[in-house]
């Protein structure tokens, strides 16, 4: 935190010295690119004061919730033990090896909506809204809201206007992180019905280094609009790597053995309401698709 404070002062002072030279009023907001320190803390909304609470002060203790928690976690633990006797990942080995299609997310009841987190640029002070509910026939999810690209007036943010829906990280017993293992598949298959807007699908995988925490593999989802459902098949070789929204120079294919979450983002700078209905999200193995990676892996911007 100290590092951030120090590095923040320097650009402002440099700019003021330039201004003194040229005797001009600062006509534009000084472009202060925030310097990122090596250790990245949790996201702090620009303009909000830093919280000075100790980590143990944030936990609250409750007896009945504790009992419920114990029951839930031990039940999950028992299921895990018994699943091992059935086969890898709880499925018989033949099914695990030969499986060609697997439905990962379905929307068959209100509890399926609990697996998803919604977020919009209201977290940084914008005015977009996003809501999620079950569709009319209780078999699909209906994601709707309003997009507004008016940037928040905090002096730092220049662009705004995004809405996302992200799946929650699957948890094993005692809130341990679990990952999806999609190594035997190579295509993402969705059935959606949009309103013509282009969305972006983001996959977050479990990485080894903490710097790679915000690495996301993305690709575009173009909806046609209209009353008919649209089947979208995106091979995993097309997903490109981006970190904190910036597409990276060193690209590599997504490692499917530890996928954490999938997300849908809308940020197409067209203000107004939007809607997207998703029937199911699954992965499948397309034998006809032999591409390993769609982008060049060698260094395309070599250093001096």
């Amino acid at each position: 935190m100290l590092l951030q404070k120090i590095t923040r002062l320097r650009p402002v002072r440099l700019l003021s010295s330039i201004h003194q030279q040229q005797l001009l009023l600062p006509s534009t907001t000084a472009l202060s690119v925030p310097r990122r320190s090596v250790i990245q803390n949790e996201y702090r909304r620009p303009g909000q004061p830093r919280e000075n609470k100790f980590p143990w002060q944030k936990i609250n203790f409750d007896f009945s919730k504790g009992l419920q928690g114990i029951k839930k976690h031990f039940a999950l633990l028992k299921k895990e033990f018994l699943a091992r006797w059935v086969g890898p990942q709880g499925k018989p080995i033949l099914e695990h090896m030969l499986e060609q299609n697997r439905v990962i997310w379905e929307f068959r009841g209100p509890e399926s909506l609990e697996q998803w987190t919604l977020s919009s640029d209201q977290e940084i002070g914008g005015q977009s809204e996003i809501y999620l509910k079950l569709g009319k026939n209780t078999n699909t999810c209906f994601l709707y809201g309003t997009l507004s690209s008016v940037p928040p007036r905090d002096g730092e943010t220049r662009y705004s206007g995004y809405c996302t829906m992200r799946s929650k990280q699957p948890l094993a017993s005692f809130d341990r992180k679990e990952h999806y293992d999609w190594t035997s598949f190579n295509t993402l298959h969705l059935r959606v019905r949009g309103d013509g807007r282009p969305w972006m699908i983001n996959l977050a995988a479990e990485m080894y280094f903490s710097h790679q925490k915000d690495d996301i593999y993305s690709y575009f989802l173009y909806t046609r609009g209209g009353p008919y459902w649209q089947e979208v098949k995106i091979p995993f070789s097309k997903f490109f790597l981006s970190h904190r929204g910036r597409i990276q120079d060193d690209q590599h294919p997504v490692w499917l053995d530890k996928v954490n979450t999938i997300g849908f983002t809308l940020g197409d700078k067209a203000d107004g309401p939007f809607q997207l209905e998703i029937d199911f999200i699954g992965v499948c193995k397309d034998y006809a698709h032999t591409e390993e990676f769609a982008y060049e892996v060698y260094k395309r911007n070599p250093e001096v």
Partner: protein, 447 residues
């Protein structure tokens, strides 16, 4: 002497060395040639930057005196020079005024930031020539690093950041730079600076993502609402056999009372498979006209209405037998008792969604019952069954039920055309319909 004559020729160009060469002549006669040579060499070893920033010819100095030297912010410069007319020509003029004002281009970074902010006002944010002209404001070759230390230490960081911001605005608007941009950037910042790196990234990723939209929308949408409706209906129909019919063109009509009313356009689309489905529909069950549903094409939102029916309940489903004589090359139906292995399962283990067939779609600027009735009667010419089937209208009325806040109108300022009813993006429910609304859109059938 020979050497002094050469010196005279060489020094003849510079104006101020008239005094100096007199001194040299004097010294030439007295001192040794080595001293002469060192004096001459000192002139040639002046920095190249100095040589470029030579004292400007006399006319500029006079202009300086004429202009008043008030402190003017760069944005005000834009306002001053382009008071009413904000076009590309005036924008270019402002840039030229700035470039001609000072050979050293003092304050060019702030000027470029101000220009980037003003571009949308002048309407030139999608014009590549203007961006190239703006990049031209940078002085050339001054910011190019000349050795490895300068390259290492982010030579002229403010200017590099400014160059990167120009390219970032181009990236935001989706404009592909061209060779002139690259030449300018290399001249200004050198080949290994941040702006050229950003240019290389743009030139790598933009072509990769330019044509990946399977349902492309042209950049210039048709202005005429009829053409726009035609384009969007063919897009959502998902069937190349679908036929677009214009039931009514927009025109103004004078009623008996003398009032002028504008009649909206009504354009519908129906494909032969939809006509077949409608012909097979049971006349006892009603059909619904539902809408308006939104469709976004880049930045414009248009609305369409559909004619659909609820899915037939399982007891009424008539299984159609394949006519074996339809195809004599191979059997269309096989009654074999084979099991599929795990590795051969090609469909997902999801229940099939049956939302009922969609019979036709239409677009109109005014979505009230009278206009849609006109559409239905137009459809009736090709689908006589519509005369016997009861038609229910399920048009949106009222604000969204789920948000809890009854202000459905506040969001809708973006709409290109006004509609009489409340427009909600999600399919709403009419208050009178007690029957639980069934899924209203059909699956994609064979296409």
């Amino acid at each position: 002497m020979n050497s002094t004559r050469c010196l005279l020729l060489l020094l003849g160009r510079s104006g101020r060395s008239a005094v100096q060469h007199a001194a040299l002549l004097q010294s030439a006669s007295s001192s040794q040639p080595s001293v002469l040579q060192s004096k001459v060499l000192r002139h040639f070893h002046g920095s190249s930057a100095c040589a470029k920033n030579r004292p400007v010819p006399g006319q500029f100095n006079e202009d300086d005196k004429k202009r008043d030297r008030s402190l003017v912010a760069h944005e005000d410069l834009f306002e001053q020079l382009a008071k009413d007319v904000k076009t590309k020509a005036t924008f270019n003029k402002v840039i030229e005024v700035f470039t001609k004002r000072d050979i050293r281009r003092r304050g060019h970074v702030e000027f470029i930031y101000a220009a980037l902010k003003k571009m949308p006002e002048f309407g030139v944010e999608r014009d590549l020539a203007v961006y190239n002209k703006l990049l031209d404001v940078f002085p050339k070759e001054v910011f190019v690093p000349r050795n490895f230390i300068q390259r290492m230490f982010n030579h002229y960081p403010r200017q590099q950041e400014c160059g990167v911001q120009v390219l970032e605005q181009m990236e935001n608007y989706g404009i592909m730079p061209n060779v002139e941009t690259k030449v300018l950037l290399v001249q200004i910042f050198g080949e290994k600076g941040h702006p050229v790196r950003k240019y290389q990234r743009l030139m790598y990723w933009f072509p990769k993502f330019k044509n990946i939209n399977p349902f492309p929308v042209p950049k210039q949408l048709p202005e005429d609402p009829v053409d726009l409706a035609r384009f969007s209906l063919t897009r959502i129909a998902n069937d190349l056999d679908a036929k677009v019919t214009v039931y009514q063109l927009p025109h103004t009509d004078v009623t008996e009372s003398g009032a002028e009313i504008t009649l909206p356009h009504i354009i519908g689309i129906q494909s032969p498979s939809q006509m077949e489905l409608l012909a097979k529909h049971n006349p006892n069950r009603p059909v619904f006209v539902e809408g308006p549903f939104p469709l976004w094409l880049r930045k414009t939102c248009v609305y369409y209405y559909i004619l659909r029916a609820d899915p037939t309940p399982p007891e009424e489903k008539v299984e159609e037998l394949y006519d074996p004589e339809r195809c004599l090359d191979y059997p269309l139906q096989l009654d074999l008792d084979l099991d599929r292995d795990f590795g051969d399962e090609e469909s997902f283990d999801v229940e099939d969604l049956d939302e009922g067939p969609v019979f036709a779609m239409c677009m109109t600027s005014q979505g009230d019952q009278a206009t849609l009735n006109q559409w239905i009667s137009g459809l009736q010419e090709n689908n006589p069954i519509l005369g016997q089937v009861p038609t229910l209208f399920r048009l949106d009325s009222g604000p969204r039920e789920l948000q809890g806040v009854a202000d459905g109108e506040s969001h809708h300022s973006y709409q290109p055309h006004p509609e009489t009813q409340g427009q909600e993006p999600e399919p709403g429910e009419e208050a009178e319909v007690i029957v639980e609304e069934e899924p209203r859109r059909s699956q994609g059938t064979k296409q």
